[in-house]
Symmetry: C2
DNA sequence: TTGTAGGCGTTATCAG
DNA sequence: CTGATAACGCCTACAA
């Protein structure tokens, strides 16, 4: 390993001069700088990350508290956060959660000087990790939202706006009777996960406001519940002509079983997935019309918000909401004038 | 931040004694140890990661070179690697690749003392990153395999065994005519990606050995190619009764369009997905029979192999191959005695 | 514009 | 078993 001292010797300058050119921290005579630069080049010097962190009291590491629930697709999100971090001279460390004392684990990351700040995802409506971070005065940013957001940096999907968009798009096609399909997370660690909560509330509010009708189906993450959904829906809300789904597995099942029941999509019934992705939608036949989750942008902006905070650019909190946008697909269409009779025996 | 010195003062011992108990590095009198421990507890001491790394010349960080191709599901894999690392006192850092000079970037991670070792995924048959790491004498482990594997630590799916398993399982059901569907990666950065290469070679070899028949379909990752696959297959290999697919998107499309063409799965034709996952398979109707990729185990073992190497446990290289195992599904069944006539006009 | 020197918090070596 | 003390490689006042 080649050190600053060796570079200094070769360039016939002091070690601090090397530091100045390496970090651009003080003006250095062009000619001296050249000498240093070429010494660095010839020796293949790289400044030692750990020594730098120790001396500067900054690790330049962001810890992403990483949920172990693997039924969600965080890929784009994590990817973008890592990339953004790297572009700003930071690194992203995955911090899997599995201990019971999650909260103390998280702040110790920072107290141990390992990370400068924390990125939190899968945030619950009331999240003790957040309060703990606040108390410990540890820099953090959320992907997602808690209930109380005063002064908190966060980036999240605008579920409210997305829901409204989907309803209005479908209403514009003549639909008047909606069904919303969301995940039922009761009994799971995500019981108070806010996306379904916010979406359901918005769904009801918007329908009421527009004078439209609808039902809500909460579907647990189990094969039996998912496969019985279609029949439940047709029985309990037979007038439905437009389904909005925030449950990809359920969407799949619906597409298949609705056709089994003799309904054609979108001729007889429309279905739109929100907070999903085109990649998933394109697998279906017909391609599912999806309002794509802006995973990439969320990851990037969350990392950047945290970095901004770390670098002292204080000021108002970053509070960003991004709506999902409709991206192709062929599963929505004009509302049918009337629905064909269902062959109930087939169900 | 509370330091070792403060702990030492409070416990009325020297700083080295504190270090000994914190790291279990030398015997300490039970009573002294107790004093230190309670001082640590009272003060809330945590040893500084960066100082430790500097002094011990070990960062305890593994860098996962992280591909930016997001059409693959690396979730379980990354997750398991991070968890395993953490269990061994290491951290996993995501290192997104986007520079042109990937190779030098990778070794500089280590030269900068940031990471002790590197985990490489999406390995190509000939991979210059590997040769570069070898030349730089940087510790690394692969997830995947290059062509030349002498002395290299790697963990990979046993595509050969998996392919053989799938063929034999289906042959056991009476199938004699197979089609293999793999991704065509020509023209992409993964042109020499080894899984499809190995799988195709094995497919041909095993069929020949068993006296069975088959065709190979290489399908690019494009909607048009994927949607025309079914017709191509039925035209070019009409006698096929069993499809083995290593291309999830194509599997989806096949399930849908085969039914459109009047073929029932698995009555008329069987389909098995290899290196896939039950989670994906369960979305289909009928549930796709999948030979599940052991992502979780691969991630764990790769991380552990690298750590073993880092900790000087040398000896023969870790070279692990894990076959995918069949996991449920209902898309394979006995070979049909004869296939119903196809309504060619429907295609 | 450049150099000197004192940390940063640990680890590790060597005495006692 | 315990304690000094010298690294580890870099940053950063403070001097020159």
């Amino acid at each position: 390993m080649v050190t600053m001292q060796q570079v200094a010797d070769r360039a016939k300058v002091s070690i601090s001069t090397v530091s100045f050119v390496v970090n651009n921290t003080k003006p250095v005579a062009p000619e001296t700088r050249e000498r240093v630069l070429s010494a660095i080049d010839e020796l293949g010097y790289r400044r030692n990350t750990m020594a730098r962190a120790l001396a500067s009291r900054k690790s330049r590491v962001l810890a992403l508290i990483y949920p172990l629930l693997d039924h969600r697709n965080h890929h784009a999100f994590v990817d973008a956060a890592a990339t953004a971090a790297e572009e700003h001279g930071y690194s992203l460390v995955l911090w899997p959660i599995h201990s019971d004392n999650v909260t103390t684990e998280i702040t110790s990351l920072i107290q141990a000087g390992f990370a400068d700040g924390v990125l939190l995802m899968e945030v619950q409506f009331e999240d003790e990790r957040v309060t703990h971070l606040q108390q410990a005065d540890a820099p953090f940013a959320l992907i997602g939202r808690t209930g109380d957001l005063a002064g908190i940096d966060y980036v999240d999907i605008d579920f409210e706006r997305t829901t409204e968009l989907a309803i209005d798009d479908l209403a514009g096609l003549g639909h008047r009777n909606f069904s919303l399909v969301i995940e039922d997370l009761d009994g799971t660690p995500l019981a108070r996960y806010s996306p379904p909560i916010r979406t359901e509330a918005t769904f009801r509010a918007v329908l009421a406001e527009r004078g439209l009708h609808g039902s809500v189906f909460r579907v647990p993450h189990e094969a039996t519940a998912i496969s019985s959904l279609t029949d439940d829906l047709l029985r309990e809300a037979p007038q439905t002509t437009a389904i909005i789904s925030m449950h990809d597995e359920a969407s799949y099942a619906l597409m298949g079983r609705l056709r089994h029941r003799g309904l054609e999509i979108p001729r007889d019934i429309s279905i739109a997935a929100i907070a999903s992705s085109t990649a998933i939608g394109d697998l279906m036949d017909p391609p599912l019309s999806t309002y794509d989750a802006p995973g990439h942008e969320l990851g990037r902006r969350a990392a950047e918000a945290l970095i901004a905070r770390l670098e002292g650019r204080d000021g108002p909190a970053t509070q960003v909401l991004i709506a999902c946008t409709l991206h192709g697909g062929a599963s929505i269409g004009p509302a049918p004038s009337r629905r064909p009779e269902l062959d109930v025996a087939t169900g």
